[in-house]
Symmetry: C2
C-alpha cells in the first residue's frame, strides 16, 4: 500500500503505523524471535534489550547510559564525542525501545543525523557550539509541532492533517540552542488518561514490566527515557502528564510554573480558549535535575515572551545552591486513595533520609484542604467545554474510546455539566485552596512539600484511575517535580500494608514487584529556580539510598 | 440624628454623608460664602481654594505643593519635617478639597495624626525611619479596606456593613513601610463608569473646572491629587480606573501588570470568582513617576506573595535608567472615537518632542487590531456574571442607577448575554489581539507605545462614555501609565479640528477650555520596571514643554 487509505479508521491507523515502522532502518530491526514474548500481558522487563540485542556498540551503550544531557553537551563541546555519534546512538536505542515498548509516534532519524552533522560542522568551523544544547538529541511528546512532521496526538481523525507548517515555540527555541530532534513519543487518546494508549499507535508498555502502564499522558516519553533511548525529553502536564510517566518509569521530571516555558504552537487535544484556571505546562523529563535547569535557563534566557505572548515575561533568576537545612512539608495521602505499601515505604524512607541529613520535615496532613475534593474540583476545569471537542475529534473517524477513559473520571462528576455560574463558584473554591497552601507554606516556613506522586507504583494497564496527587500542583499552579526512589519489594513493603485500607486500584504485591517508586516535590509558585536547587539536594540524598 | 436610619435609602445615605462631614474639624470648615458658587454646573476652578481660603499656613502650602512623595520621605528622615507636620498639612488640604469637589468617602484624620506621632517617635527613638514610606500620608480609593473603617464603595446597601475587620493586603504592606492613611476617596456606583458618582457620597467634581467630570472609577483620588490634598494615592484599574482620573485631573498614574501589587483584601463591586481574562490591578497615582517606583519597589521587596496567593511571586528587578534613544510606537486613535483637537494636539506635540530628543516614533495605526472591537471584547468580560451581582447590590437598597451608567455601554452589546461557549470564543479572540501586540512590539523593536488615554480631555458630567483607549492595556495586561501634558486651548487646538470627524462625545472648545491633556504610555507585560524608567524619560521631556 503506497497511498493512505481514507475509508475505515482501522485501515487509516494501520497505514500510519506502517509508515512509522518503515522509518526504522532495516539494520536496526530486531528479529521477531527476540520480541515474541513481549506483550502487554507479559511480566518481562525490556530494560536489558538495548544491551542484549547487540545492536549498539559498546561506545553507543556508554553514550546512552553513562551521562546526563549536561555532561553530553560538555563532551561534545570538548570534542570528546561528535553530535553525529551521540545522535546515532540515541536513534538506534530509540529504535530498539520502539520495538520493545511501542513508545514512538514519529521518527526523524534522517533529519536528526543531518542536523547533527550541521552541529559538528558548526563547532569545527566556528570554534564554538551552536548554543547551550549544542548537538544534543531531545525527544518530544507527540503534541509538539516539528515543521514537516505530522502531529496526530493519537486521534485517527488527525492523521490526514498536513504536516506541521512550523515548530512549536519551545521547539524553535531549543533548536536555536543547538538541540537535535529525532523522535516524537506516544500519548493517550485525548491526553487525559494515564495510559498512553490510542487507536493510532496503540499502547506504550512499561519497560520495567510490560504488563504495567507506562503512565501518561507523556508515557511514550517516560518509557523511552527508561530505556535510555532518550537523555532528555519535553513533556506537557495539566494533571500530572509529565510526572506520572516519571513515577511509572523510574525517571524524573519537572513541571514548572505555567507560562515559564512558552506553550504556544503545539496541537491541543481539546478546544482553544478554555477559561480554565488550570493551565497546561511544558516541562522537561529525563535523568537529572541539573538537566532541567539547563533547559529552563536556556529557554528563559532567550526571552520566550518575544515568541509567545502567553509566556511570562520574567527572566530566569540565578539563585544560590541550597546549602542550609531545608524545611519540608510532608503530605502522606488521603483516605480515599491510601498509599500502597511500596509508595508508603518510599515516602517514609525519603522523609527519614531527609531528616537524617539535617533537614526538617513537618507533617501537613491535618493542615491542608481535602486532597480528593481538590482533585474533583480540578477535574471540573477539564470538563468546561460545552462542545466536548475531544469527543468530536474521536467521532470524526469512527474510532472507539480507549478503555482507560472509563476509569479516568470521578463518580462525583457523573452527569455534571459546566456552566458559567458554576465556574464562578469553582474559582471561589479554588481561591480558598490557593489561600490555604500559601498560608501553610508561609506559616510553617516551608521550602517545599514532599508528597506522593500517586498512591501506587505503575499499576496494570487501564487501572490507573484519577491522579489526585499530581493534580494538586496543577490546581495550585505550583511547580513540582518527580524523583525516582526505591522499588516495590514485597518483603520490605509488607510492614506498610494496612488491613483496613481500601486500596484503589487493588494492591497486588506480586504484580508490581520491581516497579519503580518515586516521590513528588512541590515548590512555591514562580520559584522554579529554588525548586530546582531543592530537588538537587533531594536527588543527591536519595541517590545514596537508591 | 445620632443613630443610623434603616428605612429609605435617601435617609441612610444622608446619614452617612453627615457622618463623613462631621469628621472635618470645625476650624477646617470653609464658610458657606466661599463655596456658594461651587456646583456641578459651574465653570469655576477649585485649584486656588487651598491657598485662597487661608486655612493652610505658608509652610503647609509648601509641604503640600512643592514636593513629591519621595522628597517628603527624605525630608522627614532628615528631620527637616515631622510626619505630624506633613500629615496635618495634607489632612487640612484634603478637608478643603472635600468641601470644594466632594472627593472623599472616609476621613481618618485623628487616626492619621496618631500614626504620624508614632512615626515621629519611632524615628526619634530608633534613629531610623519606619520604612521606605516613613511617615508619608497616602490616600486610598474607597474600595481598599482599612481596619476599623467602613468600605461602602458607594453602594447604599453596603452602608450597614460592619467596619473592615482587617486591612487590604497592600494597605498592610504600605503601613508596615511607614505609610499613614488619612482619607479614602470617592468612586462611581459599580466602579464601572468614568463619573465618580454614587448615591451615597454624590458626585466628585473636577477641580480644574467643576462642570467637568473628575473621571473614574478612582475619580475622588484624581480630584484630591489635583487639589494637592494628597501626594500619593492608591487606585485600582480594570478598564482605565487609575488612568482616566489622572487624565481628567492633570495628574499621573501607573497601572502595573496585574498581580505585581497584591489585590487581595479589598471590597469588590461585583461577584468573586469571575473567569474573566481581564484582572483588576492596583497601582499608584500622584505627581511623579519616581514615586510609583518607590511604591512598587517597596511593596514587591516585601514579598507580596507571602500575603496574597494571587500576587505574582516574582521580585522587583533593578534596571538601568533608560539613557539610550528609545523606540516608541504611536497609536493615533480610532475613527469611531476620533481625538478631540486638544488631545490630538497633545499627542502630536508629545511625539514631536520625543523625536526632538532623539527618540524614534513608529506609527502603528495600520498595524494593530481594531481598537474599538477590542474594547467591545473587553466589555464582554465585565458582563460575565449571570447573577448580575452589582445590580443586586443596587436593588438591595432601592437606590437608582446613577445617570452615567446609561452611557457606559456599547450598543453592540445590547441584550448580549454571556455563556461558557461564548467565553471560549472570547478567549480565542483575545489571544489574537495579544499575539498581534506582541508581534508589533517585537517586530518594530519597541520600548513602549504612546497613545491617547481617551479621545478627549475631561468632558461634562455623564458624557464620558466607554473608554476604548485605556481598556486596551487591561485586555492585554500590559502595564500603562498616564502623564499630564498641555491643556485644552482653543486657539492652539483649532488647527487639529477635523470637519468630517464624528466627535463622541461632542467637542465643545469653550466648555473644555483649560482642561488638562495627557498621554498614555504602554509598556511590555511584566516589564513594569522598564516602563517606569521610560516614563521618567518622557516625564522629563514633557516637563520642558508643559
Amino acid at each position: 500500500m503506497t497511498t493512505a487509505p481514507t475509508s475505515n479508521w482501522q485501515a487509516i491507523a494501520a497505514f500510519k503505523r506502517q509508515t512509522l515502522a518503515s522509518k526504522i532502518p532495516a539494520e536496526w530491526r530486531l528479529p521477531a524471535s527476540q520480541l515474541s514474548s513481549f506483550s502487554e500481558t507479559s511480566t518481562l522487563s525490556a530494560l536489558d534489550m538495548p544491551c542484549s540485542c547487540n545492536l549498539l556498540t559498546p561506545r553507543e551503550l556508554d553514550i546512552t547510559e553513562k551521562y546526563d544531557a549536561t555532561a553530553l553537551v560538555g563532551l561534545m563541546l570538548e570534542k570528546e564525542m561528535t553530535s553525529v555519534e551521540v545522535v546515532t546512538a540515541f536513534c538506534k536505542r530509540a529504535a530498539v525501545a520502539q520495538q520493545c515498548v511501542n513508545c514512538l509516534t514519529e521518527i526523524m532519524f534522517e533529519e536528526a543525523l543531518g542536523r547533527a552533522r550541521e552541529c559538528d560542522e558548526f563547532l569545527e568551523r566556528e570554534g564554538r557550539g551552536m548554543g547551550a544544547l549544542h548537538g544534543l538529541p531531545i525527544s518530544l511528546k507527540d503534541s509538539f509541532n516539528v515543521k514537516g512532521t505530522h502531529t496526530t496526538i493519537g486521534y485517527v481523525s488527525f492523521i490526514n492533517h498536513p504536516p506541521a507548517a512550523s515548530n512549536s515555540v519551545v521547539v524553535d527555541m531549543l533548536h536555536r540552542a543547538g538541540a537535535v530532534f529525532y523522535v516524537k513519543t506516544n500519548l493517550p487518546q485525548t491526553m487525559m488518561t494515564a495510559d498512553s494508549h490510542n487507536n493510532v499507535f496503540g499502547r506504550t508498555l512499561n519497560p520495567h514490566k510490560l504488563c504495567l502502564t507506562a503512565g501518561g499522558s507523556t508515557g511514550g516519553e517516560g518509557a523511552l527515557l527508561a530505556m535510555r533511548g532518550s537523555v532528555l525529553g519535553m513533556a506537557t502536564d495539566v494533571a500530572g502528564s509529565n510526572r506520572i510517566p516519571a513515577l511509572c518509569n523510574g525517571t524524573s521530571s519537572l513541571k514548572p510554573t505555567a507560562g515559564r516555558i512558552p506553550f504556544a504552537g503545539g496541537v491541543p487535544p481539546g478546544r482553544l480558549g478554555s477559561p480554565s484556571s488550570i493551565l497546561p505546562v511544558i516541562g522537561p523529563a529525563g535523568h537529572s535535575v541539573r538537566d532541567y535547569e539547563l533547559v529552563m535557563k536556556t529557554v528563559l534566557d532567550a526571552e520566550p515572551w518575544t515568541f509567545d505572548e502567553n509566556a511570562i515575561n520574567a527572566p530566569w533568576r540565578t539563585v544560590e545552591a541550597a546549602t542550609r537545612p531545608l524545611r519540608f512539608g510532608l503530605i502522606r495521602g488521603h483516605a480515599k486513595r491510601p498509599l500502597h505499601p511500596p509508595i508508603a515505604r518510599t515516602l517514609h524512607t525519603a522523609a527519614t533520609q531527609l531528616k537524617a541529613h539535617g533537614h526538617s520535615v513537618v507533617l501537613l496532613d491535618d493542615q491542608i484542604p481535602d486532597l480528593y475534593e481538590n482533585a474533583v474540583l480540578a477535574w471540573k476545569y477539564f470538563l468546561l467545554d460545552p462542545q466536548k471537542t475531544p469527543a468530536k475529534h474521536i467521532s470524526a473517524s469512527g474510532e472507539p474510546w480507549v478503555p482507560s477513559m472509563a476509569v479516568t473520571s470521578f463518580p462525583e462528576l457523573a452527569g455534571w455539566e459546566a456552566s458559567l455560574d458554576a465556574l464562578f463558584d469553582m474559582n471561589v473554591e479554588r481561591a480558598k485552596v490557593l489561600r490555604r497552601y500559601r498560608e501553610v507554606f508561609v506559616d510553617s516556613e516551608l521550602d517545599a512539600i514532599v508528597m506522593p506522586g500517586y498512591q501506587a507504583t505503575a499499576v496494570p494497564h487501564d487501572t490507573f484511575g484519577v491522579p489526585i496527587y499530581t493534580t494538586l500542583a496543577n490546581l495550585l499552579n505550583y511547580p513540582a517535580g518527580m524523583l525516582p526512589f526505591l522499588k516495590a519489594e514485597k518483603r520490605l513493603d509488607e510492614p506498610f500494608f494496612e488491613k483496613e485500607a481500601q486500596y484503589e486500584p487493588q494492591y497486588n504485591p506480586d504484580v508490581v514487584e520491581g516497579a519503580p517508586g518515586a516521590i513528588q516535590i512541590m515548590g512555591k509558585p514562580m520559584k522554579d529556580e529554588e525548586l530546582v536547587e531543592i530537588m538537587k539536594v533531594v536527588e543527591t540524598i536519595l541517590a545514596k539510598e537508591n
